[in-house]
Amino acid sequence: MTLKGDSVNTDYRQSISEMQDLTREYASFSQSRSGLGNVLGGVAGLASFAVMWLLGRGVATAILTVGLTFAWLVGKEVIRRQLYRPFGEARETWPASLRRTHLGVNAFIGLVCAIGGVVFAVRLATGTTPWSVALPYLIFCLITPWIGWRYLRTVNEFMVGFYLLFASAVVSAGFVPDRLWLVAILPWYSLVLVVLGLREHRQFQDLAARLRGLREVTA
């Protein structure tokens, strides 16, 4: 894909188009595609479901659920940086429509969390709800909008991420979410995330091989 001369030929135009395609594809792993980060999210979702299902309410369930949630949030960013940037950084251009959707979803989550936060803060202040119950929900209301804005980018990430955060709050308050609800949502989205993540990782491996070839040609 070298550029030699400035003739107006098809190869030349194809080289430029190919260069653009490779850049777009590589940059997509900075935002919309997470590869093994998605697999980690799926595994965290399935594991937290299994923990709640098998252990029921208790400290161990709370620790494991919160731990799995944050292990995923941190792990997917580490994976993104360590695994999907071998040729330097390229940040994906987010179309205005996606930017608006992300903003809209986060604004909605922010509003719900703000209302919930005020309710639990009042309950905590007036002593109507014990702090061991109100505090986890209050923390959930405070951190979820920021986590959603900063770390959750795709619909699947939102589904699993929001659910894991909510489950963390519920189990930390000493409860276990409704199992039927869990059966309906969490395992399915977790499985989707695993399959999607594996497919994206294979796509990245192909892309990396093409970019390595390009580097050898241009070296």
């Binding site: 135009r13 260069m19 653009q20 850049t23 330097g88 251009t93 987010w94």
Partner: protein, 126 residues
């Protein structure tokens, strides 16, 4: 920027097409700078390492050509730190994107014109 759009009713004679070729944006037309713009038009921001790999330019040439694009207002160059390591980020500006798009449309139209001329020459020779 001095690019022209090929519109209906414009001069499509060989002289007209030569004129079109001569009015190509020279800042974009240089292959190294075109490659830089092509990469930058496909991402929000890229760093020096990626731009170097994607364009296949030497470090010196990349710095020189990107400075020229910055002078023309087609890209912005940002110096920052990744932890303690200095890094450079490159972004295309709206002006640069418009220039690149106009150039691309221009060069595609020109390529088609050359093909048309080539075809008509061959048929007249037959």
């Amino acid at each position: 920027m001095s690019s022209l759009d090929l519109q209906a009713g414009e001069d499509t004679s060989p002289t007209g097409e030569l004129h079109e070729a001569l009015t190509l944006d020279r800042v974009v037309h240089e292959p190294a700078r075109l490659a830089i713009l092509a990469v930058l038009s496909s991402a929000e921001e890229v760093d020096f390492a990626f731009l170097l790999m994607a364009t296949g330019l030497s470090k010196g040439n990349l710095s020189k050509q990107s400075s020229k694009l910055e002078e023309a207002g087609y890209i912005t160059i940002r110096k920052y730190f990744k932890g303690k390591i200095p890094a450079t980020g490159y972004r295309i500006t709206d002006k640069g994107r418009a220039a690149f798009t106009a150039y691309w449309e221009h060069i595609t139209a020109l390529g088609q014109s050359v093909q048309r001329l080539d075809h008509s020459e061959r048929t007249s020779n037959d």
